[in-house]
Structure formats: C-alpha cells, structure tokens
Symmetry: none
Subunit: 240 residues, 2 copies
C-alpha cells in the first residue's frame, strides 16, 4: 500500500462517520483513508457493536457492510432507527444476491456501493449523501480549478467553457486531480484511490488515462496537468 494522499474536504471534513466492517483489511483501509480525508472516524466490527456505537457516538453517517457476523446491515439500521435515530447510511454490498435487498434504500437519501469499490467512489457517495441529508447549507456539487469545471452531480465537465465528454474512469481521475489540485500525486496514490482496491495491473494504466485526459481536457493553454518525472502528476496553474 502506498502513501495515502491528503484529499481534505474542508467543508464536510469534520463529519463524524461510523464505519462497520468485519474484514480487518478493508476496515483498516477504510478508516485510514477516511480519516486522512478529514473525517472523524469510529469503527465497529459487528452489528451489535455498531448499534451501541451509534447510540453513543451519534455519527453523522454510517458506512455499513451488509454482510456482518451477527446481525446483517438491514437489522442494524432497523435497530438504530427504532431508537429514533435517522442517521444516513452508505451500504457496502457484494455484487451478488444481497444487491437486490437494497431496494427501497435510495428513498430516504441513503446510498450503496458495491464491493470491490475504489476509495474515490466511496468518498464521493459519502459526500453526496451528506450533502443531500445535511439540512440547510447547500454545498455546491461543482469543482472548479482555473477554467476547468466539473459537476459531481450531473457528471458534466467543461474546459474553457467547452463541454467535454469523459468516460467514468476519466471522470473519476479528473475529480481526484481536482480535489487535490496543487498537490503532487504519485501513480501509486492515484491507483490506490481511483481504481478499485482489487486492481492488479500496473502503473501504466495511469499513464494511459492521464494521456486520455490531456487529450480531452488539457489540449488548450495553459496546460494544467503536469508530469513530475519520477514523482507523479500534479494539477496546477503554470508560471510562478
């Protein structure tokens, strides 16, 4: 595992998350990176522990694996809500039968992510759910850097006012770069955040996608995507 980038979300970064996951590796991956992303993370490794943790810690959002050793995720939520808590949830589900049990979930503003996922995918969902369930202050879903604009909700991207069509991976990569503008990102970091955690290919795929992105969104002056040979990539304004 490579160094983890700081992708601090200034606005929502103080949010309290409760992460519930029985697989130690995934739990570690999640708590480390979500903490690094600026969330206040507590954890639980079983359903019953989750219920009491939720009572005490009153998290703003729960990241909840559906498959748990004792109670399943749905039970956990039912128990939490019986206690009057209306905490939003992002479920983690395997891509199998359990997926359809998720039905009805998007009604209350919750969401789900299927395993394996990429960290960017998960944090994007978490941020979206927080955005829509946090009363009041509408946080903009639009990232802007120089003359680059990216709308997280509609998936629209503009460079110098021109609409650009991106594939899902291109979009995720660009979002990651924009969230970390002016920060140098190694290929390993990019791989760790933008690609699913079970990806077993090599760095070259990052080069390929950087190349695609440059062609689509960085084909005008000033160039914003820069290569630091032997180090990584960075999105920044030239000059200085």
């Amino acid at each position: 595992m490579s160094a983890m980038a700081a992708q601090t979300q200034p606005k929502q970064s103080e949010a309290k998350l409760l992460v519930v996951e029985d697989d130690a590796n995934i739990l570690e991956l999640l708590s480390a990176s979500l903490r690094f992303a600026g969330f206040d993370v507590s954890t639980a490794t079983s359903g019953s522990a989750a219920v009491s943790a939720a009572k005490n810690a009153t998290p703003d959002l729960v990241v909840l694996d559906v498959m748990l050793p004792d109670l399943d995720g749905f039970e956990v939520i039912r128990l939490m809500r019986e206690g009057g808590q209306r905490t939003p949830v992002v479920f983690l589900t395997a891509r199998d039968g359990t997926e359809d049990k998720i039905r009805g979930l998007t009604l209350g503003g919750d969401d789900y992510v299927t395993k394996p996922f990429s960290l960017e995918e998960l944090t994007a969902r978490i941020r979206a759910v927080l955005r829509r369930t946090t009363a009041g202050e509408e946080e903009p879903s639009r990232l802007v850097f120089a003359d680059l604009e990216l709308d997280e909700e509609t998936h629209e991207v503009y460079r110098a006012g021109q609409r650009v069509q991106l594939s899902p991976t291109e979009f995720k990569l660009l979002r990651y770069l924009m969230l970390n503008a002016n920060r140098v990102l190694s290929k390993a970091q990019i791989l760790d955040h933008v690609w699913k955690y079970d990806f077993r290919g090599d760095d070259n795929i990052v080069e390929s996608y950087i190349s695609y992105l440059r062609r689509k969104v960085d084909n005008v002056q000033p160039r914003l995507i820069h290569t630091l040979r032997g180090v990584g990539y960075v999105l920044r304004k030239p000059a200085v």
Copy 2:
C-alpha cells in the same frame, strides 16, 4: 443539490402529514421518503393513537392504512370528523373487498391507493388531494419541460405539440423524469420511486421502459432523455 434530492414541490413541501400504518417496514418506507420529499411527517401505528395525534398535530393531510389493529381507518376518520376536523385523507388499502367501501369516501375530495403502491403513485395522489383541498392558489397540474408537456390530471402527454399515448408505467416514469429534470437519476432510484415496493426484478426493466419512452416521446430532435453510462439517466436539454 444532490442527485436524489428533492423531488420537492416547493409549494406543498411544508405540508404536515400524519402517516398511520401498523406495518413497521412500510411505515419506515413512507416516513423516510415523504420526509425526504419535503413533507413534515408525523406517524402513528394504531387507530386510537392516530385520533389523538390528529387532534394535537392538526395535519394538513392524513395517510391512513384502512387495516389497523384497533379501530379501522373508517372509524378513525369518523372520530376525527366528529371532533370537527375536516382533514383530507389518502387511504391505503389492500386490493380486496375494502376497496368498495372506499369509493363513497373519495367523493369528499379524499383518495385512496391500493397496496402495493409505488412511491410516485402515492405522492402524486397526495399532491393531487392537497391541490384540490388547499383553498386559493391553484397549483398547475401540468408539467412542462422544453417541448414536452404532461398533464397530471388528464394523463395527456404531448411532445412538440403532438399527442402521445403512454401506458401507465410509461406515464409514471416520464412524470418522475420531468419532476426531476436536470437531475441524474440512477436506475436504482427510478426503480425505488416508480415501481411498486414489492417489485423484485432487476434494473433491466428500467432500461426497457426508457427504451419505450424514447420511441414514443424522444424520437425527435432535440433528444431530452440522456444516458450516463454507469451512472443513470437524466432529462435535460442537450449540452451547450
């Protein structure tokens, strides 16, 4: 504003609802989604609780299951009205004999929905009842987006002035898209809102109906229904 947020109808969204339902799952489904739709929701799980809740909370509308453990829905209404309250009601009924008993009641401006229902079905009825019982400000029952028009009362649909015939599901789907114009809707969201809550099929049916709709209402320029691969669908005017 988020992907799913707000199928909120600004005008009616502050309305106070009292939801009366003894099945915990359905109650949770209803309160979560109606709250999310912007209503101010309180709940009761028995007929007697409903009567006193109605006294105290003075809701603008009651969503009332006919089958209740103690008093049945008709009794509840009778008691409420004996107390002088003339609150409109949307009944929830099983598809069985009780259906006929409802008929007489709907004359007063009330309405009913048979279980299982889809959320869009229910919110459409709630909105319609509020529209016709809320004195004064006539809210239009006509949705318009670009050259698409949909009349919620007559169920007529026009594209570019041309009348189009839609099946019930096609109509509901189009209404949902129009209510959420410019908002990206995932297949899961669409399934959750447009299909009945007991539907156990998969996403493909959404694709099928999108395909039907395109053939009927989106066969002219400019195309309004757009696919975001891996994300969902959106009704919007083409990019700038």
